[in-house]
């Protein structure tokens, strides 16, 4: 290899411009390097010390002691593991896998500063309503607690809470009633399971229908305390199956034996929300979920095992409507 030729001899006037240009370029480069030093000093260090997490835990515990039903959310999902390790309240099922922010009378969002609504998942959870202003903002070390209150909002019935409490939730298929309670129901054509699943890259806690394709599963909720509307979500588990766009599921909702809604939801819709207007008070509700094809298509053809499961949550809400 040979070295580049030395600059040609030229009059000073002709050299002046490239020299100035080179000096400016070098200065800019070194300036950029200096900026990167500063950025490195800022980026390459931990900012959330164990003491900071402990202080946050103590503050959250005090807050929840006064308001035990308050929903607690960590704005940055990537901080979740550390948050759950440090703050017991973040392992509550509602904090782990919030369905959305509808019906929540009070909730607190933990951020590392900044606007909590900058996170897309929180805006999505709040829905199309005008974004609320925090009733209170508390700084706790590097963290900020944003407390919100939604007047008159309430959840009058929660399917998952009813299942957790072992309340009267009857699950049946075409062959009759499924056996079990407390979150695991064994039917002739498969199982219905209350579990955490991944849908649209978020944790969801819902009733998953691990049943054969085309088999309708009916949930009967006798004397459910309804509000102004039933709101729920349905989505499909298993991201690998989901990318192929397999068959949808059908959801039918009836109140006191009268059909109120029939929906077809596909795996492309993610955590698909639906709402049905209801008469307030105690009513018999039935929900029928029919997976189209529970298996999936692969290189070897159709695999009928129910690997992609529709998963349902349902609540009765009052107040806080759009």
């Amino acid at each position: 290899m040979s070295a580049p030729r030395a600059p040609e001899a030229a009059p000073a006037a002709r050299l002046a411009r490239p020299t100035r240009l080179a000096r400016v370029a070098l200065a800019l480069l070194l300036g950029l390097a200096a900026v990167e030093w500063a950025a490195a000093a800022r980026a390459y260090r931990a900012t959330l010390t164990p003491a900071a997490w402990a202080a946050l835990d103590a503050r959250v515990a005090a807050l929840l002691a006064d308001s035990p039903d308050e929903l607690l959310l960590l704005a940055d999902p990537w901080l979740g593991p550390r948050g759950r390790q440090a703050i017991a309240a973040l392992t509550d099922p509602r904090a782990l896998a919030p369905h959305d922010l509808h019906g929540a009378p009070r909730f607190t969002i933990i951020t590392r500063g900044g606007d909590p609504w900058a996170r897309a998942w929180l805006r999505e959870a709040w829905g199309a309503r005008p974004l609320p202003r925090a009733a209170e903002v508390l700084d706790v070390g590097p963290f900020t607690l944003h407390r919100f209150e939604v007047a008159a909002a309430a959840v009058t019935f929660d399917l998952l809470a009813a299942v957790d409490a072992g309340a009267a939730v009857q699950v049946s298929d075409e062959r009759g009633r499924c056996r079990g309670r407390g979150g695991v129901y064994t039917c002739a054509f498969g199982q219905v399971l209350r579990e955490y699943v991944e849908i649209a890259y978020r944790p969801r806690r819902c009733l998953a229908f691990a049943v054969e394709g085309g088999v309708p599963i009916r949930l009967d909720l006798p004397r459910a305390a309804l509000g102004e509307r039933l709101r729920g979500h349905l989505g499909f588990t298993d991201y690998n199956a989901r990318i192929r766009g397999d068959a949808p599921a059908r959801v039918e909702i009836a109140v006191d034996g009268r059909r109120r809604a029939a929906l077809t939801i596909s795996d492309r819709q993610g955590w698909a929300a639906f709402e049905v207007a209801t008469p307030p008070g105690a009513h018999d509700v039935s929900v029928t979920v029919t997976p189209g094809l529970s298996g999936t298509w692969g290189d070897g053809g159709y695999d009928s095992r129910p690997t992609r499961r529709p998963c349902l949550e349902l609540r009765a809400l009052t107040g806080g409507a759009p």
């Binding site: 070295a3 080179a22 940055d76």
Partner: protein, 572 residues
Amino acid sequence: MSQAPARRRVALVAALVGALTTLLLVRGHQGVGYVRDEGIYFVASRSYGAWAARLVKEPGVAMTARERDRAFAVNHEHPALMKLAAGVSARLLAEPSATPPPGEALREPPADGVVHLLPEGAAMRLPAQVLAGLGAALLVVAGASLGGSLLAGLLAAGWFVLLPRVWFNAGLHCFDVPVAVAALAVALAYRAALVDRRWALALGPILGVAIAIKHNALFLPLLFGLHYAVCLLRAPGGARRQLRLWLPLGVVSVAVVAPLVAVALWPWLWSSPLARLQEYFAFHRLHAYYNTEFLGTNYNQPPLPESYPLVLTWATVPSVLLALALIGLGVALWRDLTLRTASASTAADDAAAPRRWSAPLRPEERHDGLLLALLAAFPLALIAAPSVPIFGGTKHWLTAYPFLALAAAIAWGALWRRAALPRRWRHAPAIALLLVLVPSAWSTIHSHPYGLSQYAPLAGGARGAAERGLMRGFWGHAVAPLRTTLGELDRPRLRLYLHDLHQLSREQYLREGRWPAGVEAASPRQADAGLLFYERHMLTYELELWNDLGTAAPRAIVELDDVPLTSLYVGD
């Protein structure tokens, strides 16, 4: 700044930089966990190494098709050279395997090298680390030559090896940095072959070695062909009309010798070569899609956004280094464009000294700018192409980086030469060199041994990347502190869900006495504890652990600057 450095001094510094690079990799990477792919490469290397040992003792038996195929069938989707070298290295340098704890057994014969110098995995990583050192040394030499100063050479070497992603990959028993170094060596040989018939003869064998490392090298002849055509078309004196110059010695060497060398270094191809080559090409053409997170979206089927490799390059390479590389490419291309004017006299030279078939160009006709631009841009363009399977991860375009480093060296030389600073500023380039290399070195040192999760300062490091929805890591290697935690759980038997930690990597830890006693691999449903390596699409497995272990609070977490990389969940 404009004086060409003394060759001997440059060679000495290059040797020192190369040796230092290799030594630091050998020492530092003993703390880097075994990545997912290494597990099967370790198994293959033991098999290939055993064949090499047999070749020495019983060459007649080892050379039979049956023995060859038995040895080289494992992991035959990649060429054998690096695994063969690793196997031989382990046979020479590996410490004896540890006695497995009760209830465990080694599935393969224990290691026991001639000299007990390194743990078996470290011994198998050594050939790649030596190649990384060679790459650093080559960059010092080539950078000094192109940039016109030793500092330019040091910049080129530092540009490459000090990047966290390069450093991390350079120490692994994998092929990405080795093939990047091989591509650099082939490119330098090609550049020399244009003007020197000895290098034209050497070009084929060197390319053959590169192909025997990884398939990326197969693209090089196409780029060289394009570059050579432009050089010939722009050469003065009617060179383009001389038909013999369109098929010079270097091309013959590449076309004939390179394939022979590549096949010679891959005994798997010695039987049914055409069928096995077809299988090899089909495997890579129809490669399984990886999942990769980019700006908050998980991609698992093509196309990836075309901006993906560009944004990831910006996010993982300090901007000052990228700026230098871009300036260098600009300077070099400008020199190419102004070449015709500068070399007008060579038309007369052609009459006096006719061009030779074996060395068809004159040094100034080599269009270094175009060559560097092609070699730097192609790997990124390939990944950006919508029809290319999703590979994800910066390691797939590391082959571009040596050429960006050389472009930076050109910029360095050109700028300081043009700046023509007064003598009292004579130490400024050395100080400036430190200034531009520190962000990269800082990034690498700080993130070690998790360099795969590190991001550039202006991207905000690992925390900034997590906020922007960029991938936090992959390959299941960030586990070392958790092995200690597992050992401290004080349970006589613990069934552990390994998640992305490959079972073969666990067995390698076991062989080296680095796996806690009583900890067995298990499915999530049967496990008492579980590992979770964070990637966007891996959430499914974390939720399985929540469901099956009954806890959502990790017992221990591996973090980089607040960002969880790996969690250990333990059931009650």
